[in-house]
Symmetry: C2
Subunit: 391 residues, 2 copies
């Protein structure tokens, strides 16, 4: 159930001292092969952190031997000095594992604008590389679980997923992310490993196909991170070569699982909301409409108050340029058809919003495309966590 | 200091019984001429309320004799029955004032999806048309003030403004709006009157020029209303004919004054934030960048917590496609240069965020265009007000 579930991977998570809490804050995942194929996708934010700038170069040749991740600082907007810290961290990993620093991805998460201490990172890398372990029988000291804990920021729990195919290959993954969750990608660090035999091009195709319909459709709070990275490493250690479609489908399942775990742990949230847009003209328009609703603070605050305020859904839909007749839209909330063809239908009092899971169904009657956006409600705790984070 | 400050206008506000609180909830403003020139701009939301659909027809010929406004219900997504209520309200005003219903603008504000009671509205119109008064020496019972109170929803205070030109003509105005404040327009109902001698075409030109740089740049919470209306009525009663530029400049001042009053009364807000974007390639791009920052919940929550988290400013800027070098941007908060050329500059601890007024200055170094977006912070009280509004 972790990033070491697939054969060929070892991991560790240690407390390097970057977090003032003294908790684990540095993780290393190594791919011991025989293959070192890899793919990665990064934030669409133009203001990219130094580790993203570094990792974009590393991934260019499709070869990655290890990945080092730290919480306790994003190393973003830290200038040339910050880039040297990222480079130095990769060098430290490379030296310890006797690999090339050009094959080491680096991920960082935390506050923007603070410099990280390279000495602290280097000492943490030394500890972590000594502690690398494969998937044990499970238990608290598993390297995979320790790594998943080390990348947590405001996350309340580690996020892991695993899938083993009947034909004998495995995908495992870990993720962190609780706030600043918005598309292109949702804000997160994710490491996924597989022992399937695939080329870096195949991994890249499968990864883009999977993230497009999972992480890219998670929009917790509309805020796009500077540090997003989803890396997929392939060891080929199973010796089994799945078809691309077979692998991509399994990978999409793993990504969807991790995305739901991110949603369930979103900062301060009290509801997990799935906004399904049906019968849009195109899938892109379905995403646009769902995204507009997911970004309406008024809608999100209403759900927090267990108020099925469907007028706020329609007000958000109306801000988009998707194809639809504004007075021909249906809206159902948790199974109750509150609006049909733009007029009140069932009484809103019939809607029970006490469960954490909320379903909003919007029928545009404009085509046959569908998409679902995952989001959360806007709560007092969200405001509290995000007003107190840096201080 | 009200919508009756200009000669030729009378107003009233009464308690018709639409608000459960028993407070004033229906206002009428009449233009007694000699001119009945008018212009209006409406929400850009495609899901428009029935009164907006009605008023768009009324304004087509540039002639408006009266405007009736109610709080206690938006009359949006109420179907054909709701449109009949709007029409009936205009008919009631027309009958009482012996004018054409086709010259009566209607504005409504409140919850979406609830039908209004036409009998209640008609009785309120009867009361209001009997109570119409011109600008008195001022005092609690002035019709203009009563009208400004009658259009309040979650507003904590009425919003009015006035300007008298040295050459003897006057502009007066009233506004309501506290939440769902976002562009195209900011969510609001605004009635502005003038006794300057101007055609409806001149009023329209001046109104669009003024709202473009005032109400359209107020973005309290990113949520766009279904009911926005800004109406400008001209009586010509002063007999003075200003130049269009002279009038437009004064009108812009009135609109800016009212916009600042809306911002200062935004639901739950504890800070009024002015985001000035300098040296953009175009004014549109300056607006886009300012708007992106104004819609970052993370940035807004940080300001609530008196945390000058400039990383969240840059993370929001990076989501736009405006022209800039991501690593060449400067950011100052309340006069402290916290970021220069994409690197930390002055310590964030120097920034004092205890005053209500917050200034964020973003220099893109990409051109010479400038724009300022007004917004508010994201607070516990915002969440509370908007989670409890419908219940």
């Amino acid at each position: 159930m972790s990033v070491t579930a697939a054969s060929g991977f070892v991991a560790a998570g240690v407390a390097a001292g970057l977090k003032s809490s003294g908790k684990r804050d540095l993780a290393v995942v190594q791919n011991r092969g025989p293959l070192t194929a890899a793919a990665a996708v990064f934030t669409a934010n133009r203001c990219k952190a130094n580790p993203v700038l570094w990792s974009q170069q590393v991934i260019a040749d499709g070869v990655v031997s290890a990945i080092v991740l730290n919480s306790g600082g994003a190393n973003c907007y830290t200038g040339a000095a910050g880039f040297q810290v990222t480079h130095g961290t990769a060098e430290a990993v490379a030296e310890r594992l006797e690999i090339s620093s050009g094959d080491v991805l680096v991920c960082s998460t935390g506050l923007i604008g603070d410099q990280l201490d390279l000495d602290v990172l280097t000492a943490g890398v030394a500890d972590a590389t000594l502690a690398l372990t494969a998937d044990p029988a499970a238990g608290e000291t598993a390297g995979g679980l320790a790594a998943a804990e080390a990348i947590m920021t405001t996350d309340t729990r580690p996020k892991q997923a695993e899938y083993t195919a009947p034909t004998g290959w495995t995908i495992g993954g870990m993720a962190k992310g609780a706030g600043m969750l918005a598309p292109g990608l949702a804000t997160m660090l994710v490491v996924i490993t597989t022992d399937a035999v695939l080329t870096s091009e195949q991994l890249d195709t499968a990864l883009r196909r999977a993230t497009h319909v999972t992480f890219d459709r998670l929009d917790s709070d509309g805020a796009m991170s500077t540090n997003d990275t989803v890396a997929l490493l392939g060891s080929g250690a199973s010796g089994v070569e799945p078809t691309l479609d077979e692998f991509a489908a399994a990978l999409t399942g793993i990504c969807a699982d991790l995305a739901r775990q991110l949603q369930a742990d979103a900062e301060g949230a009290s509801h997990d909301i799935a906004i399904e847009v049906r019968n849009a003209l195109t899938e892109d328009e379905a995403v646009t409409v769902g995204r507009a609703v997911s970004r309406s603070n008024l809608f999100k605050a209403a759900i927090f108050g267990n108020d099925p305020n469907w007028g706020r859904v329609l007000a958000a839909v109306g801000t988009t340029d998707a194809a639809f007749d504004p007075y021909g839209i249906d809206v159902a909330i948790n199974g109750v058809q509150v609006c049909s063809a733009g007029e009140p239908d069932q009484p809103r009092t019939l809607v029970d919003l006490t469960p954490r899971a909320v379903s909003v169904l919007i029928d545009l009657h404009a085509g046959s495309a569908t998409a679902t956006i995952l989001t959360n409600d806007l709560t007092h705790d969200y405001v509290h966590e995000n007003s107190a984070y840096a201080s």
